[in-house]
C-alpha cells in the first residue's frame, strides 16, 4: 500500500487514541475532585505534566486552574494535542485515505469531530462528565467500527500499530506522573488509595485490577499497568499485539528484518523477562521514561522503514 496512506492510517488511530486518553485523564480527575475536597491547584497540574507539554501550558495560561487545564486539553486549537486538535488531525488523516478505509470509519471520525466541535459552539466549557464520557465512547466506537468493517489487511495493521503504541505511551505517562507524586512507600492515607483507584480508572483498569489483585497497592498497580499480559491497556499487552501487527505487515516469520521490528522486539523482550521488582529497583520513573523513549524509537523505526523510504 502507499506509504502515505499507511502513515495516515497509523496517525489517524494515534490521534483518536490520544483524544480518548486525554478524556480519560480529565474525567478521572473530575471524579476525584468530587470524592475529596483537596486543594484544587495541586490536582490539575499533574494532568498537564502527563501530556509532556507543561511548558506550552505555561506559555498560554497563568494558573493551572481547573478551567484553564480543561480548556487547554479540550478546546485549545492552538495546542496540537488538545482533544479538538487531535480530532481535527484524525479527520484530515481519515479524509486523505477515505478510499482506503471503510465509509463507516470515515463517518465515525467525521461525526466524532463534529460532536467535539459542536459541544462548545461559543467556546464555553461543556457539561464535563457527559462530554468526556462521550469522547471515550466515540473512540471505542471508532475502534469497533474499524475492527468490524475494514479488512484486517496491511492498512488495518498500521492502524493497530498506531493505536497500540499511543496507548502504551499514555499508560506509561500516567503511571509515571502518579507514581512520581505518590512515592510508593506503602499505602498511607485514604486519599492515596483514592488516587490509585483514580489512576486505575483513568485506564479503565479498576475493575480488571480488582479481579486480578483484590487489594490496592502501588506495586501491584504498577505491575498490572506495565506487565499484565491480558489487560488491553497495559504496556506489555500493547507491545505484544503491536509486534504481531508489525510481522503481519512485513510477512517475516518473527526474525527482525528492519529497524521497526528490531526496536519493537527489543522492548517487548525486555518486558518478557523483567519483573516489577527489577523495574522499581532501577527506579520506576527512570524505567518508564526509558520505555517512552523506546516507544518513540519504535515509531521512528516504523516511519523510516515504511513511510519515508527513498528510491
Amino acid at each position: 500500500m502507499l506509504s502515505r496512506v499507511a502513515d495516515s492510517i497509523y496517525w489517524l488511530n494515534r490521534y483518536i487514541e490520544r483524544a480518548e486518553n486525554i478524556a480519560r485523564f480529565v474525567e478521572v480527575n473530575l471524579n476525584l475532585l468530587i470524592d475529596c475536597n483537596v486543594v484544587v491547584e495541586q490536582q490539575w497540574e499533574p494532568l498537564v505534566i502527563t501530556t509532556g507539554d507543561a511548558e506550552m501550558f505555561r506559555d498560554r495560561y497563568s494558573t493551572p486552574s481547573a478551567e484553564n487545564v480543561v480548556r487547554f486539553l479540550t478546546y485549545d486549537e492552538t495546542y496540537s494535542n488538545s482533544i479538538i486538535s487531535c480530532l481535527s488531525a484524525a479527520r484530515n488523516n481519515a479524509k486523505s485515505v477515505r478510499d482506503a478505509i471503510s465509509s463507516e470509519m470515515w463517518e465515525q471520525v467525521n461525526s466524532f469531530y463534529f460532536m467535539v466541535k459542536d459541544s462548545s459552539p461559543d467556546g464555553s466549557l461543556p457539561e464535563l462528565p457527559d462530554f468526556f464520557a462521550a469522547v471515550r465512547t466515540a473512540s471505542h466506537q471508532f475502534a469497533g467500527v474499524m475492527d468490524a468493517t475494514m479488512s484486517h489487511n496491511e492498512g488495518w495493521h498500521f492502524g493497530q500499530l498506531g493505536r497500540l503504541i499511543e496507548r502504551a505511551d499514555k499508560t506509561a505517562r500516567i503511571l509515571d506522573v502518579k507514581y512520581f507524586l505518590l512515592m510508593p512507600d506503602g499505602l498511607g492515607t485514604a486519599l492515596d488509595e483514592l488516587q490509585w483507584i483514580a489512576l486505575l480508572k483513568s485506564t479503565s483498569g479498576y475493575e480488571m485490577y480488582r479481579k486480578a489483585f483484590h487489594q490496592i497497592n502501588p506495586r501491584d498497580v504498577a505491575r498490572f499497568l506495565v506487565f499484565d499480559r491480558e489487560f488491553p491497556r497495559s504496556i506489555y499487552s500493547c507491545l505484544l499485539r503491536a509486534e504481531k501487527s508489525l510481522y503481519c505487515i512485513s510477512g517475516n516469520g518473527g526474525t527482525w528484518s528492519n529497524s521497526a521490528e528490531r526496536t519493537m522486539g527489543k522492548l517487548r523482550s525486555q518486558l518478557d523477562y523483567m519483573s516489577i521488582e527489577e523495574a522499581i529497583s532501577l527506579g520506576l520513573h527512570e524505567f518508564l521514561d526509558e520505555t517512552q523513549s523506546r516507544l518513540n524509537f519504535i515509531s521512528q523505526g516504523i516511519s523510516e522503514t515504511f513511510f519515508t523510504l527513498e528510491y
Binding site: 463517518e107 467525521n110 515504511f306
Partner: protein, 476 residues
C-alpha cells in the same frame, strides 16, 4: 401540496407544460409530490442534506482566505428528461466528443485543420490551453479526451444548446451518483414505479476507460487517481471515484519518476504506475515541462508520458479544445472531421478578436453575456441584463485591452425546474452537465448533473456562486 399555485412565468419549465399541466414524463413524480405536505417535503429535504453531510459529500469553498467545508445545496425535486429527448442529446454528445478528439489529435499532430484554413492558426496558438510541449504526442489508442463534462442549456423556446465543453478535469459526477443514492432513500416507491435509467455504473465505465489505455500485455495494470490533496475543492470526488473503482488515490508526493517509469512509494518499496487519471491541471503536473515555479507535480512525468511508458487521462493539452473562442468553431470542426452537421447547436458566439464582432459586442453589452475564454467556474463573466453601467464600462475596457480573451453570447433564458423553498415550490433556472467517457466506445452517463441557480432570477448555477444540484432522471 397544491401545485396549482406554482408560477410558470415566461419560462420553459422542465416539469410543467405551458398550460400548467404536468409533462407526461413528470406525472408520476408530481402526483406523488401533490400528496405530500410542504412540511413533509422539507423534512425529506433536510434528511437528504444531512445524509450528504454525513457521507462527507462536501466541497471546500474558499472566501476571504478562509476555507469552509460545505455540502452543495441539494434540492429534492428532480429534473426529468424523457428518454426520446435524451437519446437525441446522447447522439449529439457522442458526435461532439468524437470530433473534439480528432481535433486534438490533429492540433498536436499535422494541424491539417489549420492548413485547410478552417480554424485560424492565430486562434489556436494564442489559446492558453494550447501546450507546445504536447506537439507530436501520441497518447495511447489515440484518445485525448477520455472524460468530458459538457454543459447544456435549454432556452425559453425549449431548444437545447451546448454552452461549453470541459475537457480538462470536469468535476461533479460524484454528485450525480450520491444525489441518486439519497433520492432513492427519499422516494423509494417512485423508483419502483418509474423506469429511471441508472447512473450508478459510472465508476465501472470509468475504470474500463482507464484500463483500455494500459498496454495489452499487462495482465493487471496499476491505475491511480491523482489528486492535488484534501484541500482541493473537489477532493471528495477524487477519493470517491478511487474508492468506487478500487484503485489507489495518489498525491504528487507519492509519485516519483525513476528508471524511466512513474513509480509510487509503497510500504514495500516502489511500484510502477501504468495509468493516471489526473485531477490536476496540466500546468501543475510536471514542473520540469510546464511551470518551474510550481511546487506541485511530478518532475519528469512528461518525459515518461511522451515515451509512452505511462498513460494519462485526460491527455495533457486538451484545454485547447474547450477554449471558449475555439468553441465558436465547433460547427466547422464537426463538419471538417466527420462531414456531419452539428446535432446539438452552439449558442451563437461573438469573438471579440474579430473587429466587426467586437464592435457589435461593445454596442450591445447590456444584452449579452461576456465570458473570459480561459476561465471557468462562472468567474470572469459579465451578465449584461443584470449588470450596472459601471460594470459594463469596466468590461468594455477589458475587452478592448485583450480582445482574444473574450467572447460574448446572447443571454439565454435558461429553463426552470420547480425547487423547494420555505413557502413552497418556485421555479429556478438550471443547466445540465452530462458526463461522457471515451474508451473503447463513447459512453454517456444517462442524465448528468443538473445544477440549479437557487437565487431568485439568477442565471449563475456555479456552486461557488449560490448554485445547488438536483437529481436528473431519464425516464423511459
Amino acid at each position: 401540496m397544491q401545485l396549482s399555485s406554482y408560477q410558470l412565468g415566461e419560462f420553459y419549465d422542465e416539469l410543467f407544460l405551458a398550460d400548467g399541466s404536468f409533462r407526461p414524463a413528470a406525472t408520476t413524480l408530481l402526483d406523488r409530490v401533490a400528496t405530500l405536505s410542504i412540511e413533509q417535503l422539507q423534512h425529506h429535504q433536510q434528511m437528504a442534506q444531512l445524509a450528504l453531510l454525513k457521507m462527507g459529500v462536501t466541497f471546500n469553498h474558499y472566501a476571504d482566505n478562509q476555507s469552509t467545508e460545505k455540502i452543495l445545496p441539494f434540492d429534492i425535486i428532480p429534473r426529468i428528461l424523457p428518454i426520446g429527448e435524451w437519446k437525441w442529446l446522447e447522439q449529439g454528445l457522442k458526435q461532439r466528443i468524437e470530433a473534439l478528439n480528432l481535433f486534438l489529435a490533429d492540433i498536436y499532430g499535422d494541424q491539417k485543420i489549420i492548413k485547410d484554413a478552417v480554424v485560424p492558426a492565430e486562434l489556436i496558438f494564442s489559446a492558453p490551453g494550447f501546450l507546445k510541449p504536447c506537439m507530436g504526442l501520441q497518447p495511447p489508442r489515440q484518445i485525448w479526451c477520455h472524460i468530458t463534462g459538457t454543459d447544456l442549456v435549454r432556452d425559453k423556446d425549449g431548444k437545447w444548446y451546448v454552452l461549453e465543453d470541459n475537457l480538462r478535469c470536469p468535476s461533479g459526477v460524484s454528485y450525480v451518483i450520491e444525489n441518486r443514492r439519497v433520492m432513492k432513500s427519499t422516494f423509494p416507491q417512485l423508483f419502483e414505479s418509474t423506469p429511471i435509467l441508472p447512473v450508478e455504473d459510472y465508476p465501472s465505465h470509468l475504470l474500463s476507460t482507464l484500463m483500455h489505455l494500459a498496454p495489452e500485455s499487462l495482465l493487471s495494470p496499476t491505475v491511480v487517481v491523482l489528486t492535488p490533496g484534501i484541500y482541493n475543492s473537489a477532493y471528495f470526488e477524487h477519493s470517491f471515484l478511487a474508492q468506487q473503482m478500487g484503485v489507489q488515490l495518489v498525491e504528487c508526493r507519492d509519485l516519483k519518476v525513476a528508471n524511466g517509469y512513474v513509480q509510487m512509494r509503497t510500504t514495500k518499496g516502489f511500484q510502477k504506475v501504468d495509468v493516471i487519471y489526473r485531477r490536476i491541471d496540466d500546468e501543475f503536473i510536471d514542473p520540469q515541462a510546464f511551470r518551474s515555479d510550481s511546487l506541485l507535480g511530478v518532475p519528469g512525468l512528461m518525459e515518461v508520458y511522451r515515451a509512452g511508458r505511462v498513460a494519462i487521462a485526460n491527455a495533457l493539452g486538451t484545454g485547447v479544445a474547450d477554449d471558449k473562442a475555439v468553441y465558436a468553431y465547433m460547427p466547422q470542426i464537426i463538419k471538417y472531421y466527420l462531414d456531419e452537421e452539428q446535432i446539438i447547436p452552439n449558442v451563437p458566439t461573438y469573438l471579440c478578436s474579430e473587429s466587426n464582432q467586437q464592435q457589435y459586442v461593445l454596442e450591445h453589452l447590456e444584452k449579452l453575456v461576456v465570458k473570459a475564454t480561459g476561465e471557468s467556474g462562472g468567474y470572469g463573466m459579465l451578465i449584461g441584463p443584470q449588470s450596472t453601467a459601471l460594470e459594463r464600462s469596466e468590461f468594455a475596457d477589458r475587452i478592448r485591452a485583450n480582445p482574444r480573451n473574450y467572447i460574448a453570447q446572447p443571454t439565454l433564458c435558461l429553463s426552470r425546474v420547480p425547487t423547494l423553498f420555505n413557502d413552497g415550490l418556485a421555479g429556478r433556472h438550471v443547466d445540465l452537465r452530462p458526463y461522457i467517457l471515451h474508451g473503447q466506445e463513447i459512453y454517456v452517463n444517462p442524465g448528468g448533473l443538473t445544477r440549479v441557480a437557487l437565487n431568485d432570477g439568477s442565471l449563475v448555477v456555479n456552486s461557488s456562486q449560490g448554485g445547488g444540484t438536483k437529481d436528473t432522471w431519464v425516464v423511459q
